[in-house]
Symmetry: D3
Subunit: 302 residues, 6 copies
């Protein structure tokens, strides 16, 4: 293995025999992995290693207590001006163009003419659509990567479509809500300075209100949009957190709103499991500190 | 005492000697009082008395276990078509014109030109202003009366003005927020059919979101309104419930938002005490079932 | 409309003009509906009407404040010995044979030989299988009807199958868990005496422990069943309530357990909405008192 | 069975055949039991039966759905002036003189001279000691009977003595605290008007503060009482509810305070079980509505 | 800038270029500020810097990510024996003599003779009054500075006076409670050894009980003090935390007690905002870790 | 003092004069103690000291801020291969053979022949019984030592015996439950690799379910075991955590189950106090971070 990374959490420790070694985390677009380096360390890492720092490394991966780890043979500090920060932001590994096309096709197939017109307004607003396909779904909890919101929206869409066949629901509103329930994230979060962060309006108003406002601004351009549909759509957007303590000013009171909340929660929690156990090897357990708040098990066999 | 009321909770009971009597509650604009009637009851009240029903009564008040009560001598059923429903909705006992003038004067004295212009837009929208001065502040919890929102807003204004002298706060934003933090109630509640009720949009979106939207619609007519002020004002409106579990999608994060929440809460709780103990006589205790969830004491002396 | 029902909650009330009427609820296999009767009541209903009681009625349905209601023209008391109690227990309206066949086909298609063998053991135990296809899914919360557990299991199976295509999951364990996560209900509940009730072992041990024990008793007959699979399966069963406060001694720690919990919850909540709003007409609101704990809206259009 | 009782909760119901009957609860010093009366009712009970009312009855007990019940043959209303109210207040069935002697003997055997002197002060204050031996331990939750506080104190004393042999504890402080932790009940509650009730100072200050004050008033008469012991004793008294939400301003922070809280809780909960299941027959279940908040089981055999 | 401070949290870090620097916090009577030092560090700070330690520094302030910071040019360690510890305890910046006079004047103006006599007893007890004017209002949460309790009491007094004009309240009791609700802090906390700390009696009994006891000891010297007033005053003192989980054995049940709690809470929370954002520059956000538990915003303009 | 220990939490700090010293914790079978070393440190401890590490030390104990501490004069690193790991696992200081004999004698004295037979099955299964007498009662909370489960079971037995004389309880079931309520710990925890840890089945199923299963496997060998007793015993085992949020799928619903829960809780909390304050000297306070979540006081005198 030979590549460059953002090195974080670098510290010098000693092993049980008293030998000092460097412990650090290597981050790039594909995620992060723990690493260790014994032996001759570069001058800059001898005492208090710089952290975070861009580095160039050589090494090989192995398993330690059920989790993948990298043992470094060589480590070299890169200067910030020599790297391109966005290369080190985690990003979706899926084909974002294909995912975006899947959403667009779902939008074109909406039978309700008003929701279809609304979708078209939004998807054809190039600035918005580009941002929507690029945004992370969260700062840290799940899908915290470029394109993460897109991945989450596509998963929710797929589940929603299936549920529309099980329950007596307004299919078009369910599909529209599945795609755009988290749209306020495009304003709540920023991802342009080498890190995911909250914006000031994100912290003052939150993605629930910002998302409702954003969709309402497109609805305002459609004079024929029916009043009741506008209300039901706004309700889906503001209630999707499911409970007031999670930031929804009202709880879901229509079947579409209830299902959007449950689907959002389901995909978010599945992602938390998958992302937390990414480097855990079969038969092993993750750490306790993760968004699900408990150690997670990766079976030997499945 | 001789007057007409809305009679509610009418039931036939027997006293400790086995004598039957009618127990009921008499409601009109000034509030409600418990009543009892022994002896010859009108035919319609003999078995299952109609409830609610409009009635004409004669009787006299006395004290029973520390609470005022009316003993009826005469009771006559009125036909719904013979009464004017709005006469029986509880209403503020204060001079609503004076209260409204107090708000308008506070609005004219705002030093920030943008907030002053915004206030003028709102106060000069006659439909809105009339509704605002007429609305109850809640369905049941506190200030549940015609003009109740106005009373609550004036109290909050008075406290806010005083606090502006204690803390390093944006006085104009504090004053504006004190007046309008609950403005969404004008759309969340209805009071036109002889009772206070929730509207459908009130139940689907809630007064927090409806209030922010309503103010935003006036801000939208003021192109010079500064962006940061718009954001801070929206934050005051959506965070005034103080905690997410009480329906605010974000908690207060500016000093103005924090104080508005605390002032709103203070006046609401004081009103709960005052309204609950209205008919309790000195040295007595109220019932447990009231918005504060505990029996309340009315001292002998104070 | 002319039919026989179980009449519950019968009381005499008076309308706003003082005219007395009978208010009651009519229950049969298909659910329940509110009813009213004015005019000449049968002798037995004149003062304190018997409740519950089996009755024969004639009348017609209409809408009242957004909810369907029956206005009765005729009402006759039936003697308990003249009715067959099970005809009045709510029962699934779906074809239970088709649903059961859907489960059996899913069982036969399991690729994991051990889970397939386990399924066959269970489905071929005629006593068990008949009971499983007959049991309600709950006493009151959702799917409280004969065949309700079967309906719920089939819905969970359908959603689970779809999710197996989205997430890196052990498809067979997910399918098996979707079908049998609530199997303990067959021992927790009884439905043989004209009502759904908890059994003594249901109250002392609960369906979570009873279900795990029941499946374990079939696993014990399969000596080849792998130890880790046995453990993961037990984990799915005991953790499916999702949180300890809802009765799971451990929270889900594998992806299969997590998804089973989420799917169970999703179908249960959708059913609560659907069952609560069954008689609410378009544009109307349900009562607050229902398993979701909030008034629910039925849109005009969808 | 023939005796007089306080009859509460009297209502007329109809059985499944439509026959009306009287349902009521019979209360006296020994507790309460449900009763039913079919057939010819006294005039006063025909429509709305007086409740509560003193009655003279004849009848016989039998078991109904696992709970003892009385079927009345004869029922006669007594006039309040013909009964002695205190005869109908539930009272301890144990020998209060023996219990009181057990406490006094424990007090005399305290080895710590200061606590022994304090105990003597209190036990020799005749007004106080009589009241202490007469008070109920609560208004409704457990030991709600004349002498109930005494019973509870003796039980706590017995358990505390045993624990003093298991743990490295200040035996004398533990014994003293076991006896007097709930002493504030003598001022929080009143039992002189035919019912258990809260006093005004009981509602304003609570038994935790009142008990600490009461003991402190006796300590104040003992100038030699060591300062640290005074503090540790006050801590035991104010922390015995165990958690702030149950009304202790501080949680237990010494071993004696911790054990007093746990012993108090243990005896209170055991009493809740015993009192709730008093009339439940073997193999039966109690109602849900009781201080433990769950149906309780009485085994067949034990 | 040149001055001496208590330096805390000193650690050596490296910047993004790998250059080591010293990070520390400088504390004195006026509060605290973050500081950094690059370049030649004194010998004692080279490896593990002593912390806390008294230091003499030269440097200049600048803004970093929206928070004021000091860049040090020179740093010298002082020996503990060369400093006067109390100079480094944070202290009120207001004129404590003027604040104390404001309280005394309010006390003299009480119309109720008993409360006025009580106030005079307390204010003329020189030891007590000096301590009261010197005490901090808390160890860390708000007003954690010499004279902090005085500042908080004066603020509460000012708000209480204003509220006495809005609500039908016993003005004198409200004023007295506003001044002395937190008086127990003088025994709960100590501030004589260079730091704010809890006393043993503070941890065992808490300021709620200690405050009530302290006032009661002065009331005991006034034989004419009316019983009901004594009870209402004790209630104000023990209930001022507002909820049992915050350490009040009873919740407020009189209007005075309710308002004292709300005023106490309002001033405490306003102080938390003000103290947390002291060094945050306009347009910036505070850290999350502060008594309000959320990042706080300081607007650009206000 | 001269002995070998497991040294944990080793770090280099500087005192208030800037002198560096080593701070560490010394652990062996008898518990743990804080230690400090000034002056000449061994080479391996100069910069980042190895931690945990086995060490040989000389020094003497003294008191620091109310807690015992060791000041080291000499410190030498031991190689892992030169120590026997189990010597450093904390272990009960009591005579485990005597404790085990006490349980066995209690088992032989059970009057219920089925419970006595069950006890004999379990106590005569040598593998099981050895493990049961060796297991810790928890990983960290209380009795976290070899033989800790045995100590806890004996304490619970002693309290249960005493309670059987106070309450109308099935003495044999109470005694049996007191001994074996926590038996699932033998599978939930492991203690064979130099540390206490959770097993995989412990984390997936928990000691509540594992204990019930384990006892059920012995019951299964006793064909005469009565069905109701089997159910009541299973209920005691699964409900002993007392509340669902602490991991019991059902709450206690029999008197035996209720008492077992209360006794378990009582002994666990007493142990938390005793273990937390082990090294605190008279008049001192423990740290806040302990299983009871509050600082604990050790009186001067008792």
């Amino acid at each position: 293995m030979r590549a460059s990374f953002l090195a974080t959490d670098s510290t010098i420790r000693k092993d049980s025999r008293g030998t000092p070694y460097l412990s650090l985390k290597l981050v790039d677009r594909t995620g992060s992995v723990d690493a260790r380096m014994w032996g001759k360390l570069p001058e800059e890492f001898l005492h208090e290693p710089p952290s975070p720092a861009y580095v160039d490394v050589e090494g090989h991966t192995h398993e330690y207590r059920g989790t993948l780890q990298v043992k470094l043979d060589r480590l070299r500090l890169l200067r910030p001006e020599d790297v391109s920060e966005e290369d080190y932001l985690p990003a979706s590994e899926l084909d974002r163009r294909a995912l975006s096309a899947e959403l667009e096709s779902a939008g074109r197939e909406l039978e309700n003419e008003h929701l279809r017109a609304l979708f078209e307004k939004m998807a054809s607003d190039e600035d918005f659509w580009t941002t929507f396909c690029e945004a992370p779904a969260a700062k840290t909890m799940h899908h915290a990567r470029i394109g993460g919101l897109l991945e989450h929206s596509v998963n929710c869409l797929r589940i929603a479509r299936m549920l529309a066949e099980l329950y007596p629901v307004d299919r078009d509103l369910l599909v529209f809500g599945a795609i755009f329930h988290d749209v306020g994230k495009v304003r709540e979060l920023s991802w342009d300075k080498g890190a995911f962060a909250y914006t000031t309006e994100g912290r003052l108003l939150g993605h629930v209100v910002l998302g409702e406002r954003l969709v309402a601004s497109y609805v305002a351009t459609l004079p024929e949009f029916p009043e009741e549909l506008r209300l039901r759509l706004a309700h889906v957007l503001i209630s999707h957190q499911g409970e007031t303590e999670y930031g929804s000013p009202e709880r879901p009171k229509t079947l579409e709103a209830l299902l959007i909340h449950l689907v959002d929660n389901l995909d978010a929690r599945a992602a938390m499991y998958i992302e937390t156990t990414k480097n855990v090897s079969p038969g092993g357990w993750s750490h306790h500190e993760n968004p699900l708040g408990r150690a997670l098990f990766v079976p030997e066999e499945s």
